[in-house]
Amino acid sequence: MGMRETYTESLIRLAEKDERICLLDADLRVGHGTKPFYDRFPDRAINCGVAEANMLGIAAGLAAGGKIPFAETFGCFAARRAFDQFFISGNYAGLNVKLLGSDPGVTAAFNGGTHMPFEDLALMRAIPGLTIVSPCDPYSLGELMEPLAYSDGCVYLRMPRKAEQQIYMGNEKIELGRGKVLKEGSDITIAATGFVMVPEALKAAELLDKDGISAAVIDFHTIKPLDTDLIEEWAGKTTMIVTMENHQKSGGFGGAVAEHLSSTKPVPVFRIGIEDRFGQVGTEAFLKQDYGLTAEQSAPLIRDFFYKLK
């Protein structure tokens, strides 16, 4: 099962138990595969057409009426087109709007530069009190859906729609706001977030192992609130922190980690991410390579940085 199937199934499961759960689309229902929800709960599913700002306004109204609305569109439109509506009518108003921004970063692939959000985390991170989640596989997404529905306030969920992959075995405890150590290590800590970069982090750790560098890998499925205890713990256990994200370096996950550590436990933070560039069209494989997101490109940079510290 892929991400969108898990998303839809989880929503249906939640909606069966709680009639406040409802769903909104902006002419991307087909793309998000949420039709089963419409079939099951026709009165609680609203397609707003190609009008994202209006959709977020309507979602806020639903929330003000006591509902728990999940709205979805591509991440580029979720974060950019409807930002003010999400910010004011949702967040500032203290309401409970859950927003899915799909196809983050390079996963927008053939839709190209206009559709490729490298800045959504930067925008969303600046919203006070917002919960931001970027799960790396369907299992962890499924585990997070209920806590997200019942978390206090607005949520931004960042994930690709179509892809399938398995990082977790399927019996782990996944807690909102708590990072998950995927691999132990003693020299450096790789903190990664999201579907694209968690696997790259695991691969990079393997490559580093071959160079005699022991790297721990942690999945930060929750970006805000950041699991600062875990970050500080590993900043103490290892020489440096590496962050990996499918997003601009500035203002993203690595920025959040560096900001926190700089005033609590200053250790070197090496960030892998997109270097002040716009998106473009291409296959995901081409884009990962072009923006320098692969393990093969990252591992030597991490290694050199680590050696320089010693």
């Binding site: 057409g49 009008a51 530069g113 473009q280």
Partner: protein, 280 residues
């Protein structure tokens, strides 16, 4: 329009349709539906209506087009290649890493593209800005814009509609590709545009409505739109999404469709068999 010219343009539209199908078929997936519904429009605009120069695509004194429904880029690329803006061999690079022809229109990549689009709802405002720029510079040229019917759900379309009328942008001629479909279904079911002619008229636009696949009607209405009024013009094109591609036409899933080059070849063979009246 004399029959010779009409035959020539009809044949050209067919070739552009074929290139569009071929291009997307090579890649394996693309926005075939909304590309094919505007082939006759683009053929007419770039072969007789617009004052443009493929040798000098950026000349200041030219007509411009904003393809606001930027996902229809492939149809425009086929049209521009046919008109000599760039080599036809480029068409096989659609969406490849580093390509000059991305799925959505990009003015910094493709010769002949006048505005970057892809985030629906933004292009009509940009077209209004181009008109105002021309007015400030004393350039007496037309600006054309193509918006989708689904795209017309966006509030910004109606902000631009109000502004263009307020600023008396009589050099602006916009087309609505009224193919009655968006991604999630028929526009009537998702977000009904209702009295679309009345809406534009009430926003202060001159409104005409024609069969969007009728090349002669496109020429006539575009000419009429240029007669001196101080209003912008909207031409509603009744079109068929996926027009002329047997597996796409009439198929509700034709928005962003996967098909391979064998299927493309089949569709192309059928098109080649058709006579000028569209009968096989």
């Amino acid at each position: 329009m004399n029959t010779e010219k009409l035959d020539f343009l009809t044949e050209k539209a067919k070739e552009i349709r074929i290139s569009t199908i071929e291009m997307i078929g090579n890649l394996g997936v693309g926005h075939i539906g909304g590309a094919l519904s505007i082939v006759e429009l683009l053929t007419a605009l770039y072969n007789g209506i617009m004052d443009i120069d493929p040798e000098d695509p950026k000349k200041a004194n030219r007509d411009k087009l904003v393809l606001s429904k930027g996902h229809a880029g492939p149809a425009l690329y086929a049209t521009l290649a046919d008109r000599g803006f760039f080599d036809k061999s480029w068409l096989s690079t659609l969406n490849a890493g580093g390509t000059m022809l991305p799925s959505h229109c990009d003015m910094n990549r493709t010769p002949g593209i006048d505005m970057t689009t892809g985030s629906l709802g933004q292009g009509l405002s940009a077209a209004a800005g181009l008109c105002l720029s021309n007015r400030m510079s004393g350039i007496d040229k037309r600006v054309f814009a193509v918006i989708g019917d689904g795209e017309s759900n966006e509030g910004q379309i109606w902000e631009a509609a109000m502004a263009a009328s307020q600023f008396c942008l009589d050099k602006l001629t916009a087309f609505t590709d009224y193919n009655k479909m968006q991604i999630d279904g028929m526009t009537a079911d998702v977000m009904d545009l209702g009295d679309i002619e009345g809406k534009w008229a009430s926003f202060g636009w001159d409104v005409q409505r024609i069969d969007g696949h009728d090349i002669e009607a496109i020429f006539n209405t575009v000419e009429k739109a240029d007669v001196e009024t101080d209003k912008p013009s909207m031409i509603i094109l009744d079109t068929v999404k996926g027009k002329g591609c047997f597996f796409a036409e009439g198929n509700l899933s034709n928005h962003n469709m996967a098909f391979n080059s064998t299927q493309a070849a089949e569709a192309i063979a059928l098109l080649r068999k058709e006579n000028k009246y569209g009968n096989a």
